[in-house]
């Protein structure tokens, strides 16, 4: 285990790199492929150094074609490899949609388990980095709606490592959503120290509280934690649940929290309509109806194409919008 002196700040991007590096070192069947992942180390430098350390056959710059990348990864998995695919940005994963939906997600089921698809599709997602159009989509709703996929997204440096290790180890495909604006977020977790594998399918309570539960994930976790701090001034003690895994969904942790607090707000950056929040609010309501003092509310991106850089701050759910939603949780009726 790490000693105190090992510890130095590490970024989420470094933690992800370390997760791939450790997995590649342990398991020769792990291969990384994508656009610019080799020599350059990826446009976000998440694969930095892997080609050098493991060779270009293990970390491969592919031709520029996302369906080709994921499609060849399917073939590699058929032959027993564990491909980790990088899509350069959220919107640039769309050309691979057919391969993902019609093959990656279904192959195990189609073949009665004979042919699993241990593929990780890493997708940098979300906004807040001043990217021009097509560089800030939150595409999680598409993946959540596809049976056969697991969908995972870290909010902390530690989880970035732990969840990616778990994703690579999983025999089933994982869409691994990386919140772009947290790539450079830091913690005192040391990339040199072995770190724990975080289980897929387990949410975690990031902050305990008694007044209401904020249910969130990925880039919105820090927003919710900040909102919870701010809410103390208004007299609300908010619990913050970081889902980490959208599929499978951890009903247990979420419902335990909501039953305790009696109120909940789902917070995410993706457009609200048809987004993850609908599913989450609906299942929480189905399971906790008689514990609810107010309807589960949603704070989400607006139902619009992602805005240009100079306007994105008005689109992204921030602390104020979260607090507004908390305020609408029908406190008067109860207090």
């Amino acid at each position: 285990m790490a000693t105190a002196t090992d510890k130095k700040p590490a970024t989420m991007a470094q933690a992800l790199q370390r997760a791939m590096r450790d997995a590649m070192a342990e398991d020769p069947t792990v291969h990384v492929l994508g656009e610019d992942v080799g020599t350059l180390g990826g446009v976000f430098r998440v694969t930095d150094g892997l080609a050098k350390e493991f060779g270009e056959d293990r970390c491969t710059d592919t031709p520029l074609a996302e369906a080709g990348i994921l499609g060849t990864a399917v073939g590699m998995a058929m032959y027993g490899l564990r491909p980790v695919v990088e899509m350069q940005f959220d919107a640039f994963a769309y050309p691979a949609f057919e391969q993902l939906i019609s093959h990656v997600a279904k192959m195990r089921n189609r073949t009665r388990g004979a042919m699993a698809m241990p593929i990780v599709v890493r997708v940098p997602y979300g906004g807040g980095i001043g990217g021009v159009e097509h560089h800030s989509d939150s595409s999680e709703a598409y993946y959540m709606a596809t049976p056969g996929l697991q969908v995972v997204t870290p909010a902390t440096v530690e989880d970035a490592y732990g969840l990616l290790r778990a994703a690579i180890a999983s025999d089933d495909p994982v869409v691994f959503l990386e919140p772009k604006r947290l790539y450079w977020s830091k913690s005192d977790w040391s990339p040199e120290a072995p770190a724990a594998v975080a289980p897929i399918g387990k949410a975690v309570v990031r902050r305990t509280g008694s007044s209401a539960t904020l249910i969130t994930y990925g880039p919105s976790v820090p927003v919710c934690l900040e909102a919870a701090e701010a809410a103390r001034e208004e007299g609300w003690d908010l619990e913050v649940v970081d889902l980490r895994s959208l599929v499978p969904f951890d009903d247990e942790t979420v419902c335990a929290s909501v039953r305790r607090t009696g109120r909940a707000v789902v917070v995410h950056e993706s457009a609200g309509f048809g987004g993850p929040g609908g599913e989450i609010a609906a299942r929480v309501t189905e399971r906790c109806f008689h514990h609810l003092e107010a309807p589960v509310l949603r704070v989400a991106g607006f139902d619009i194409p992602y805005p240009p850089p100079m306007l994105e701050k008005h689109h992204l759910p921030g602390v104020d919008r979260v607090l507004d939603a908390v305020a609408r949780l029908q406190w008067e009726a109860e207090h």
Binding site: P63, G68, G71, T72, G75, M78, P83, R108, T111, Q150
Partner: protein, 374 residues
């Protein structure tokens, strides 16, 4: 016979042939290239191989007929027949070694069966009791693939993985003329060429993508010419000349195996029946065109040549027909049995482990089934 002389050539080839060559080309390619042929050329033939090809062609045609009959009896949900294309199907199966992989499309049940796959397992998808009816790894046959051209990158990835591992395994991927228009075709061929992957692409140009003739599909002088843009060899072969298809495929497979990279092969053939039993081909082509192709039938071609050369006689013909009948009778019997069905299989193998919601849903279905049973 050049391609232009084939029945229905107008639909096959754009007329006039488009100017296509890059300015830097010092000499024109043939605008209507002559496909590679063996039958009728006086080439030497390997007797054992020819008889094997012949027997499989006859068996294959009977298989197609039986499968189509099974659709009428409600024993198959649908069947896309490869009647007329048996030379491609059979040659594809025979050109591969045991350790090689076949990547068939939905039309290539026959190739899988000719490779030795149990016919019932091969027909599971089309009967409808499950999707893929066999273990692809056991037979080295990827699932029969419906989304067009999506199997091509799979073949490339598998071949590439095998080469990285040091195995001398070759992947053979089958696709239709229509499938060449899909983006996945392009991406697969490009990856294959860049990686010099040991993969062979066989395009069965059967003249149609459902109702759409090749002339509406491409303006290229031949589909084999598409190889040029990827930097791989392109071959054009008479797809009804079984020894020719076998030869061209075998060469390409050998080339791939010795590290020479991928090859694109266009086999010119014809789909004698409708797209599937559910299709009505009279809506888009005349019977004269179909009839004309009967003169260029793969079985007739091979039978004629083998008979003329004294490699096949009446007895041999009868024996092949009888073996095919036996196979068909067995298939009919097997397919007339209702498959065992377990509705709970819906939840099997969605993931390695069932998650919470699938456990709930499985419990719901089980309760429903129990209630029904009571």
């Amino acid at each position: 016979m050049t391609v232009q002389e084939l029945p229905g050539a107008a639909a096959y080839r754009p007329t006039p042939p488009p100017a296509w060559r890059p300015r830097t080309d010092p000499a024109p390619l043939l605008p209507d290239p002559e496909p590679h042929r063996v039958l009728g050329t006086g080439a030497e033939l390997d007797r054992a191989l020819m008889l094997k090809l012949y027997a499989e062609l006859v068996r294959g045609r009977r298989f197609n007929a039986q499968a189509t009959a099974l659709t009428k009896q409600g024993r198959l949900a649908v069947y896309p027949s490869s009647t007329g294309q048996e030379a491609c199907e059979v040659a594809a199966a025979l050109a591969l070694e045991e350790r090689d992989w076949l990547f068939p499309s939905y039309r290539d049940t026959l190739a899988a069966v000719a490779r030795g796959l149990d016919p019932v397992q091969a027909l599971t998808l089309l009967r409808g009791d499950w999707h893929t009816g066999y273990d692809p790894r056991e037979h080295r046959i990827a699932p029969l693939c419906t989304p067009l051209a999506t199997q091509l990158p799979h073949a490339v990835g598998l071949a590439h993985a095998a080469r990285l591992k040091g195995d001398d395994v070759v992947a053979l991927a089958l696709v239709g003329d229509g499938g060449t228009s899909e983006g996945d075709f392009h991406e697969a061929l490009n990856f294959a060429a860049v990686w010099q992957a040991p993969v062979v692409f066989l395009v069965q140009n059967n003249g149609f993508a459902i109702s759409v003739p090749l002339a509406k599909q491409t303006a290229a002088p031949s589909l084999a010419h598409k190889a040029v843009g990827y930097g791989m060899p392109g071959r054009l072969v008479d797809g009804n000349d079984a020894p020719a298809v076998h030869q061209v495929l075998s060469e390409a497979v050998a080339r791939a195996r010795r590290g020479g990279g991928p090859t694109l092969i266009e086999a010119v053939t014809y789909r004698m029946e409708a797209h599937t039993n559910a299709d009505d081909a009279t809506r888009y082509r005349g019977s004269a065109e179909v009839d004309a192709w009967r003169d260029h039938d793969p079985i007739r071609l091979l039978e004629g040549e083998l008979t003329a050369r004294g490699l096949l006689d009446e007895d041999g013909i009868r024996a092949a027909a009888e073996a095919a009948e036996t196979m068909a009778a067995a298939l009919r019997d097997q397919m007339n049995a209702d498959p065992a069905l377990d509705p709970m299989d819906l939840f099997a193998e969605v993931y390695a482990e069932r998650n919470g919601q699938l456990r709930e849903q499985a419990a719901q279905l089980r309760a429903e089934l129990e209630a029904e049973a009571r």
